[in-house]
């Protein structure tokens, strides 16, 4: 029986392979990777990590740019949706009726409307419609906001040796802070005196950073955006499509994460809270030491899948023209070269690797917070 099934399955796979190959030959498509080094004949506007130059950048570099842009939106989105999701989830459980109902409305609206619709709504109906054109940009000092996106000054290194010295001094500061925290922890265990060590470290690090920066004569210069004929030139740019995509993904995913957070906190039994109260812990101690550690083990597993969803949902960027991997690789490059098989396979592998990597990291964390039993 098993042999029969195995034979059937192998035959099925083999026949698909045969059909594909014969169809490819019939249409005169040769599957090869030789196009990787060809120059890409199209322009990519947003490439903050790799330098794009029309007429020089090859297809394989376009592939890398696509991956990096996908990673950028994924990391930005995961970070923001976690923060927003936790806040909304906690507000959802607030004893205040109004606050809790507001959180409920937020969750029910944003997780029930299709994501593509939300992306288009924020991009076209909200940001593009309300933000002014470049000439009438909203200004905050050297930061400009307009319908093309957000333009900020970016630092660049002017004097290499003094910059290196600055980094070195900062590193020493970090090491000092780590040693200080260790000492504080040991001292706390021995004497029971608790110090706000995080604030000390922050003060020490920032004062070291600023002092040495000025003593070294300011090793960084800033590239300030300047209004050109049509748009700003120079400086850093957060294009509007990235911004709307980030906004929509954050709001959509945070609604799901908020529900996970609520489930996690509700899963901590009333007895735990009573026990914490009965030994005299105050409210913040109870939340930090009893409720959160137990809620996390319930929150993490479903939140991992929300992170994976967010990463994959970022491919809906096609709708607003953010240049991530599906747009520039499985979209434009595929149309230009016709190498469907290889391009789609590479795209699939990229997403697969990203998802497996994310879940690998978070599963490790999850194992750490799980409760030991038996």
């Amino acid at each position: 029986m098993q042999v029969l099934v195995l034979t059937l399955v192998s035959f099925f796979i083999f026949s698909i392979y045969q059909t594909t190959v014969s169809n490819l030959v019939e249409r005169g498509i040769q599957t090869s990777t030789s196009f990787f080094d060809d120059v890409a004949p199209f322009k990519i506007g947003f490439s903050p990590f790799l330098n794009f130059e029309l007429g020089k950048t090859t297809y394989i570099e376009v592939f890398y740019i696509g991956i990096l842009n996908t990673l950028l939106i994924a990391i930005l989105g995961i970070f923001a949706s976690t923060v927003v999701g936790f806040i909304v989830g906690i507000v959802r459980l607030s004893p205040n009726w109004l606050a809790s109902k507001c959180a409920l409305i937020y969750i029910e609206i944003f997780r029930n409307v299709p994501l593509l619709l939300q992306i288009m709504f924020w991009n076209f109906a909200v940001f593009l419609a309300t933000l002014p054109p470049p000439k009438k940009s909203i200004e905050f000092g050297y930061i400009f906001l307009n319908s093309r996106g957000l333009h900020t000054p970016i630092p660049f290194i002017e004097d290499k040796s003094s910059f290196n010295a600055w980094v070195f001094i900062l590193l020493l500061g970090v090491i000092f802070c780590i040693l200080l925290s260790r000492w504080a922890k040991k001292n706390f265990e021995q004497t029971g005196i608790k110090r706000p060590i995080f604030i000390y470290n922050l003060l020490i690090l920032s004062s070291i950073g600023f002092l040495s920066y000025y003593l070294l004569g300011g090793p960084l210069e800033f590239d300030v955006p300047v209004l050109g004929k049509f748009n700003f030139k120079g400086g850093g740019q957060l294009p509007l499509p990235l911004f709307s995509l980030w906004f929509a993904l954050t709001i959509y995913t945070s609604a799901f994460i908020a529900e996970n957070v609520r489930a996690g906190i509700s899963s901590v039994s009333k007895g735990q809270i009573e026990a914490a109260k009965s030994i005299g812990l105050n409210r913040s101690q109870m939340i930090n030491m009893i409720i959160i550690p137990q809620a996390m083990r319930v929150i993490i597993p479903p939140t991992i899948s929300q992170f994976l969803n967010l990463t994959k949902n970022s491919s809906l960027a096609v709708a607003v023209g953010y240049e991530e991997i599906v747009a520039v690789w499985a979209g434009i490059s595929l149309n230009q070269t016709g190498q469907a098989l290889i391009i789609i396979a590479m795209t699939i592998i990229v997403y697969e690797c990203m998802s497996l990597f994310t879940s690998f990291i978070l599963n490790m964390y999850n194992r750490k917070v799980q409760i030991t039993e038996r």
Binding site: G192, Q272, G280, I371, T372, E373
Partner: protein, 259 residues
């Protein structure tokens, strides 16, 4: 305010009651759970509270460390009256230990950490000091070898003994027990009761809600019978078991002793 009442009491009586409950009334919605309860507990006194389920006995002792909020009357614990003042509530809670029916140990902390958590964070003890005290008390409840394990790895009886040790680590003046053996297998009930008897012999003030009449007979100074939110009868165990006054008590005792 609290200091004046404290001073006044010391003048009136050289041995003031550690818990003084006056005209206590409590409602759950429209349900009147506690009706005009008056109760005074002296230092080192052991009181066993029994009664049918729903009689309000658990609610009564939960009012003493404000896990339940009462609506009328007053509760004074060691000279401090229970009000809405959070600081005072936390102070009283750290002086009143409680043991629950379902243990309620913190499953994400080891046995030792369960015991040292409050001494470190509420009493501001050093970790070494708290560890020492916890090991001492874990030895008293006879499970020092389990200190590094998690609650999920222990039996019910062991967990309840850890819960007793956790409460004792705060060096409380009063211990409240809310049906401490009701969730245990018969053979584990014995080990928990033995621990409680030892604790009673050490002079701790104890209020115990239980149906273990053997325990009541052995250690109680006073047995209180509650029904429908009222104290029906209270007496020393000998008189309570041998010649109960009210019919309700007689009925309850005949049911509980003959099953």
């Amino acid at each position: 305010m609290t200091q004046t009442t404290k001073a006044k009491k010391v003048n009136l009586d050289t041995n003031p009651p550690i818990i003084k409950i006056d005209k206590l009334n409590k409602w759950f919605g429209k349900f009147h759970v506690l009706k005009d309860i008056d109760l005074q507990v002296n230092k080192t006194e052991k009181i066993v509270i029994c009664g049918p389920s729903g009689s309000g006995k658990s609610t009564l002792i939960r009012c003493i460390n404000r896990l339940e909020v009462h609506q009328e009357g007053s509760i004074v614990v060691d000279g401090t009256e229970l009000t809405d003042d959070v600081k005072q509530i936390n102070e009283i809670r750290s002086d009143v230990g409680m043991v629950f029916q379902h243990f309620n140990l913190f499953p994400h902390l080891t046995v030792l950490e369960n015991c040292t958590l409050a001494p470190i964070w509420v009493r501001k003890k050093s970790k070494m000091e708290a560890d020492e005290l916890a090991m001492d008390l874990l030895t008293k409840v006879r499970i020092p070898d389990q200190a590094k394990k998690y609650p999920g790895q222990l039996s019910g009886g062991q967990q309840q003994r850890v819960a007793i040790a956790r409460a004792l680590c705060m060096q409380p003046r009063v211990m409240l027990f809310d049906e401490p053996t009701s969730a245990l297998d018969p053979e584990m009930i014995k080990e928990v009761l033995e621990t409680m008897i030892e604790l009673a012999e050490s002079g701790m003030t104890m209020l115990v809600v239980t149906h273990e009449m053997g325990f009541a007979n052995k250690v109680a100074d006073r047995v209180i019978f509650m029904d429908e939110g009222q104290i029906v009868e209270q007496n020393d165990p000998k008189n309570f078991f041998n010649n109960p006054k009210s019919d309700r008590t007689k009925l309850f005792l005949s049911q509980i002793l003959n099953h």
